[in-house]
Symmetry: C2
């Protein structure tokens, strides 16, 4: 296979900045960082939801220390990372505190990235870029959110925004947010939509299944609901240039997209509101390639490629387009190996899945896109390197 | 394309038997059938959940009249239907009433099928077969459920059981149900797992999206959770010959199956309990082909075909096996056309999706399997016709 020179770019990698970790340590209810002891050893644990199984998860320097991030990247051959705060962001804070902390954390993340080493072999690029935060909490003024977007525009290494699914309390399909989408679209900031809450955990029953059900199912369900609600509310019709990146390959949206289209066709209240068949909008979205299986990624790519055929007025399939909207990611520092190992199985399985996708396995240019070039294009950094 | 003589068999088609409709009419809270009037016209409406959007859906003879079912089948070229009670089955009844009604409804459904016309061109077969009901409600004795299974074994046209996801209150992964799975497996009855409750509707927000979100997302999420919980609890390890048919092509299970496997690998409490990688179990399941899109069905088929590679100890991909576990269905009488039409778009889109699946479009024997022969084999009727 011909070699194409391209960076490996990780678009799904998290950090708890020291300022954020300090905020969590000062809290007495979830989300919080607490000292956990079993009499023999004491460690810090992160509890992101009350009643979380196993009393939360061990947390350490890999969550905040930049050197650990860079070492992780070096080990896995990752040249550039777009780092985002991990959930639950500022969701739990009162509006004024959320506003202040967003401003400070965005400055901190800019510095975290701006002072990172250059990306070796990719002239003019840094190793680290970031997704900033907005104070998306109840009772915040929309004008305050817009101010934060203005601030983010002034931070050259912040190329996007990570957000959960609650908006300012009523979800992302709340019409009140239209000026926010408008400002984000104008600023060309990429929105990374990421889950935190899952679905009501009573659905998962009483058996002890550790974190499996909320993480494997609840997380992708939440993302699927959020982006579906965005589609149904017409946000993608009103802001067609908005660039939304979906965590975990869009959750279940691709597999349920034809069912969604069929249900809409049978419900005139929604059908009459939308410009296109629901499947069209999948071609407007970006998907991280964090699905752990090549058949999954191939399928996501196909639902992107077929999207144009569902444009109102008609269109044709372009089988190459799918691989232009999938982007490699790791979910670091989550899913660390259970046993000491040089490389993380969670990362290796995502890399292997990309490389063995049908139609991509034999096309180095498609692999180069998913592994790195799509990210450079999406974040407007491509022309800096490839002129 | 060579013609292969095969019936078209619908495995996902519902009935509210007259006795069941009468039970719903006598009720004053959901689920119920009520008279709805807007001053101009009066109609019966079915309210399956309290607070359902649009005050429920219009209901009429297509829900209970056998002639309407047969006319629907004739119009769409369906030769044989495996009819099941629609949700919420007996879930809302006290144990003694559930037991009595299960017995009576199972007898009624046997008669509904036994007296149906012969399937033209398929010697010895009827047009109608059925899925029976079990009294799966809280406080029922397991021995009572077993008795009902014994009764179903004596009804020659009842070939399976339809069930929701609650079991006897704690879900299908409740170990108390082990004797039930054992009896069902021994009786060779097919279990059709079907959603009713969706997920907590607060996740769907405040915008008026009709029935779209609960039906397009909530339903498949519920099925996905239920079958995942069955896998995690070891039911498929303990009862490897159990034949489970999943509604709506397994919901989101195929797309989330590699993520599920990865999460399990990172959670020893579950990993140590299971015999195989989570993806292995998809090859043990049956999926209706009610997904409305050919890429979706192709993908489901691939996750079935790859399953054997995830067997503990290893195995090889058999690309032909996927099409042996997908089965045509319609979801009649739900999703009727909004405007009078000879054929239902919901049915036509499922037929078209099957016929244009990659790898199936050019293979008449695979189409014949999905459209009908898989069902004859699954329900032990194949050898009656093809000897």
């Amino acid at each position: 296979m011909a070699n194409i020179r391209h960076p490996i770019v990780d678009v799904h990698t998290h950090v708890y900045l020291p300022r954020y970790a300090a905020e969590l340590r000062a809290r007495t209810s979830a989300p919080r960082i607490l000292n956990w002891t079993n009499g023999v050893k004491t460690e810090e644990r992160l509890l992101i939801l009350d009643g979380e199984p196993s009393g939360g998860r061990p947390i350490g320097p890999q969550y905040w220390d930049r050197d650990e991030k860079l070492e992780f990247m070096r080990r896995h051959g990752i040249n550039i990372s777009f780092v985002s705060s991990a959930n639950p962001w500022l969701d739990f804070l009162p509006a004024d505190r959320a506003q202040t902390l967003a401003h400070e954390l965005n400055n901190n993340l800019e510095e975290y990235c701006a002072t990172s080493p250059p990306a070796e072999g990719f002239s003019g690029l840094k190793t680290l870029y970031g997704f900033g935060l907005l104070p998306l909490v109840p009772d915040v003024e929309v004008s305050t959110i817009i101010q934060t977007i203005e601030h983010l525009k002034s931070l050259p290494h912040i190329r996007g925004i990570i957000m959960g699914t609650k908006g300012i309390g009523k979800g992302l399909d709340d019409n009140t947010l239209d000026p926010v989408w408008d400002a984000i679209q104008a600023a060309r900031l990429v929105v990374f939509i990421h889950p935190h809450y899952g679905v009501d955990s009573t659905a998962f029953g009483e058996n002890d299944n550790g974190h499996v059900l909320p993480l494997a199912l609840g997380f992708p369900f939440e993302t699927t609901i959020a982006v579906t609600r965005l589609i149904l509310s017409g946000v993608l019709d009103r802001f067609p240039d908005l660039r939304l990146l979906l965590a975990h390959s869009g959750g279940a949206l691709p597999q349920l997209s034809s069912r969604l289209a069929s249900c809409i066709q049978h419900d005139p209240i929604v059908a009459n509101r939308l410009k296109h068949d629901a499947r069209y909008y999948l071609g407007q979205l970006y998907f991280d390639a964090v699905a752990y299986g090549s058949e999954e990624l191939t399928f996501v790519s196909q639902t992107i490629s077929r999207a144009s055929t569902f444009k109102n007025g008609g269109g044709t399939v372009d089988p190459a387009v799918g691989s232009t909207r999938l982007l490699f990611g790791t979910d670091h520092p989550f899913f660390p190996p259970l046993e000491a190992s040089q490389k993380w199985p969670s990362v290796e399985s995502n890399l292997a899945a990309i490389r063995s996708m049908a139609g991509v396995d034999s096309k180095p240019e498609h692999q180069a896109n998913i592994l790195g070039l799509n990210a450079l294009r999406l974040f407007d950094l491509h022309d800096q390197v490839y002129t």
